[in-house]
Symmetry: C2
Subunit: 298 residues, 2 copies
């Protein structure tokens, strides 16, 4: 076994999934020499070939169990819909003391679907690096994706603290700030900050695609007036987002209910020409932007 | 009278309103020497003082009629809610052959409210430079705001073609591409590309401000996950947007109705776990983004 370098955090990291997040993490591992060996697994040979071509891994396999065998850290970077299947596949290959983590946008579901499949002596540390772009695939990744952003970890009560710290340190090396919270709380917060905004963006872009032809042609031409920002959000990965909505259903429906009530009130104010109500809300929302800018998230 | 310079388009331009758009246009006029004299008018002395300090005008007055007197071009750059009042004020001061134009986001209302007040021999050329930021006031303006964007002109049937061309040339000098269309068509297109996106952004940011305290604190912290883009849109000028919704009511309510139908369908798909429907829509919306990028509007 080669002597572990000072910067090295793990002897062997298995990345299950080499999309935007998996491949960006691989670039961080490479850049900083954080892993002695990067074992990549993906669903298609094309993705593995691309990852190898980009020199993002030391070994590549279609078999997740082969990648996970002997790994100190197994990071699930696939759409959440295949987590349970993947966990079943790799369970018997996991070595004692290994850490299994993930990068998914819903956390209660990881504990529910993956938790029971993880063998005794292996540590499950669900995580969510809150970073991304509307682009997908191994060629879309970049090491700086995570810099300055938050990574939320949601270890279930009783999780080994050393395991949590190892995952936290990995994301710190990627430039992230760490927050630890309860999985349910995470799912509520992300429902309003991420899932509902995406749902709405998908909806309005969908509404625009269904317009009469003479309007539809103009929509793209004049998209700079607001619509453009929504098209960027609504260009995010379809399978990933399908799985997010299916797996954070209750929190998303709750926030959507509140949104609908508020939108109906605005609709009524427009219909009846209640300018004061509109102006009051529009003034209030401006303050939130100030908060975002002050929190350095703009 | 000084000899007109080659680049000069107008001897005297009156800018009624010196916010983001008015002050940006003033900067263009200055930069390219397009006006012999820039007469600025605003509702408050503070705005006029700021405009003078930034050297954006040759004369400044609280009296719109004084600014408009003798002007070749009078450009209305106030919130639309005061257009009718302003038109009444300036009507008798307008010189024969003058052009009255505007920069508002709704065009049928200009023809309805301002048209009847304009004296015989003065030309009304409603316009909409489709450009902006979430910032307001004379200090927020910049000459490059319009570069590469569309300016839509909606002259009523029978409008003097020379007058339309003079306004078109002004915006071309500002770097804009010109499109001429019917006012009703403009208002429908902007309802979906601009007004509805803003309404939705205002709504979701409002929904977030009403959250329970333990969630509200996290919203800003984790805003990078989608919400942030909405806070920028929802930081736009409250009075300007109040007037847009009040004056484009029918088109906005029509598009909002379609959006609500589509959102309800998605809500049902989430509730019943219909992943195929979600993925199908999310794939379709991705294509629109490609269109936006190809149209060079991204």
């Amino acid at each position: 076994m080669p002597a572990q370098r000072k910067s090295q955090l793990f002897e062997r990291v298995a990345l299950i999934g080499m999309g935007l997040i998996g491949s960006s993490l691989a670039r961080v591992l490479r850049r900083d020499g954080l892993a002695g060996h990067i074992a990549a697994s993906a669903r298609t040979q094309a993705t593995l070939d691309k990852a190898a071509e980009l020199e993002l891994c030391d070994s590549a396999t279609l078999d997740a169990a082969e990648a996970a065998a002997g790994a100190d850290l197994v990071m699930l970077c696939t759409p959440m819909g295949v987590y349970a299947e993947t966990a079943s596949t790799i369970a018997s290959a996991l070595k004692p003391g290994a850490v299994v983590s993930d990068v998914g946008s819903v956390k209660r579901q990881v504990i529910r679907d993956v938790g029971p499949l993880i063998p005794e002596g292996v540590h499950l540390v669900p995580g969510h690096p809150v970073a991304g772009t509307e682009h997908s695939g191994p060629e879309a990744g970049f090491a700086e994706l995570f810099a300055g952003r938050w990574c939320i970890l949601t270890p279930p009560p009783g999780t080994d603290e050393g395991a949590v710290e190892r995952v936290a340190e990995l994301w710190r090396r990627a430039g992230m700030k760490i927050e630890v919270m309860d999985a349910d709380h995470h799912d509520q917060v992300l429902a309003i900050t991420s899932h509902l905004p995406h749902l709405i963006a998908y909806t309005i872009v969908g509404t625009a695609t269904d317009l009469e032809q003479h309007l539809k042609e103009e929509v793209i031409k004049f998209s700079a007036s607001g619509f453009r920002d929504f098209t960027r959000i609504a260009a995010s990965d379809p399978v990933m987002w399908r799985d997010i909505f299916l797996n954070n259903r209750d929190a998303v429906l709750e926030m959507l209910g509140r949104f609908n009530e508020d939108l109906t009130a605005l609709q009524r104010a427009i219909r009846w020409g209640e300018g004061d109500k509109l102006q009051e809300l529009f003034t209030r929302t401006r303050e939130i932007r100030t908060g975002v800018i002050e929190a350095d998230q703009a």
